[in-house]
Amino acid sequence: MRFQPDNWLEALSRPVAMAAPDANVYVEIMAPDFRFIFVLALLVLVAAMSLAPRRRGAEAGDGTHRRAGARTVFILAAALATGFVPWLATTANGRYFLAGLLIVGPVCVGLAWLLPLTRAMRLALAVGMVALQAFVVQQSIPWRAWTMASWNEPPYFHVDVPPESRARPATYVTLSAISYSLLAPMFHPQSRWISLHNAPFPDRVTADGRRTADLLAKADPGSLTLLAPAVPGMLTPQRLPNAGVSGAIDQQLAPYQLALVPGACRFLASRGLADMGLGDKTPRERSQSGFWLCQLARRQGAAPGALPANRHDAVFKALEAQCPRLFPPGGDRDSQALPNGEVRTYLRAEMKAYVYDSGEVYYKYYRALNPVLVGKADDVLAGRSRLDCGKIRGRSGLPWEREI
């Protein structure tokens, strides 16, 4: 629902909003598109001019061609309009509307062709549309718009995979939001992979919880291995995870009954990872770019120092009742304990809710810079503090109204 309109105004104005030079309007990247405005304007022009008295010799082609062209143009325009509705209703993501983004080109030029103007004027109009759209495309620089890492020379992504990892199968777990599964083909093909960032906690109740439990249970204890990108600034002089990050990793592994084996990590240098990120890295930063490969052990019980969760369930529930579309009841899974409160994630809505022990309740939409205060927990519970579901910072409003 990242790009789905939240109200009728947003839905109806989307063809116009798509021209805005902002990112995250109908696709993650900045991709201003004037062509839907062209279609709307040309439809008005064609309708207006068809009512005006016609000048001889200023019509498109001969009668047969004109009729065939007009039929095609209007059918395609209707198809585009029809396709717009389920697109907006399902994802509204431009990457899933590429057929529409292609078809709109011939529709624009076809409408210009239908205008009762001289050929030179219609050609100038079409050239003008192409030129304006080319200008905004050039200004938005679509090249490398998605690029995080560059594949220049082989291998496609460099990482020093140890020979034994290529030779012997193991069970690898990843924790990061990016699974880095592009590395999997570099390891032994009989190895097993699971992304714990996505996997539900192991249980015997839900199907996916059971699948997680089964995969982890079947793993040979000596072969359970964590593959995680090294966290800048959290490395020991030997480029291994320091105590702070080891503790954080253990906290994340604990619900899966896994733990780091002390002193059983190694660093895999990665030029692929070193090239990622903004700005130039110093030689030291580059040398510290890589992955940690850490042996894991099974654990019984909670991680040492683990904080109790589910202390603020009632507050989360109250928030979820206020805006169930943005805070689907229950969230993705149980709340996670923070040193000073709890956080619950709502991946589908890309939302997080925080309840702090001091009593404040915040939400944060992923495109907002900072969390937004909802109110005090007691007020949320009593209904005195209410979240305006139509005014979500970072999400709501037309592109030019939005705040981050």
């Binding site: 039929r71 080109g105 699974s179």
Partner: protein
Amino acid sequence: MRQPHPPLLERAVPAALLRWEVVLVCLAAWGCFLAIPLSLGELGLGWDALNHHIYLGWTAEQHRFDRDFLGAGYQSFQSPYLYWPVYRMAAGGWTGTAAGAVLASLHVIVVWPVWMLARGCVPGATMFDFAMRVLAVALAFMSSVVLSAFGSSMNDLLAAAPLVWAVALAMEPVTRTGDPGPAAACRWVLLSGLCTGLAVAVKLSNGPLAVFMPGLWLLCARGPRRRLAAVLLGSIGTLAGFLLGYGYWGWLLWRHFGNPLFPFYDHWFAPLRAWVGWAG
């Protein structure tokens, strides 16, 4: 007395140029597409490539449902076959530029149907019509979303190609000035349906867009009975195309997860799992 030359825009396009117009447009587009990865000198790997593109291409060769679970998160279950080329080139030790050039070349497949639509919108054989068609094709690709696909491992544009073909084929009986006849119309509709099914098979997100296809098939025939038959034929073609493109993958998902669309609509398949005694 010599006839004066008509103005340039009113002159007829030479017959040879008209005959080869689509080929010339495709060649010109290919040159433009190729220029992008060649000038970048690399293939960009985005969030999705690091997360699942290469992995999916790997699983296209040999599925891993009996080994991995969520190896690439919940993206692990989408139809992987369009990712196979990029994986094969990555595993084969290609340079990023060469891989980008191959991927850009594959995208020429979408230029032809766009030109067909342009020809439908702007029929005619004058220089003016020819110029307008070229501009229509250029404007079709003049989108940052479309162009950002070149020089990356994204396959959304490639996945959209069958749907654009489906629209172009469905429009053929409409765009023709003469009556193509019921047999020819049936052929276009059937092919259009096959392409629609294939489009949904390679990317399920094409499904919602395909809702307008029956409307286009309706217009391919004359008379209520023939129109209905056209919709039926297109729907059969869609089903066939979908089974062709998704059947094996869907069967694998059913075998391992009891849901051919896993992880979507899982509760919808619960009665079916119970009915057939699927044990998981």
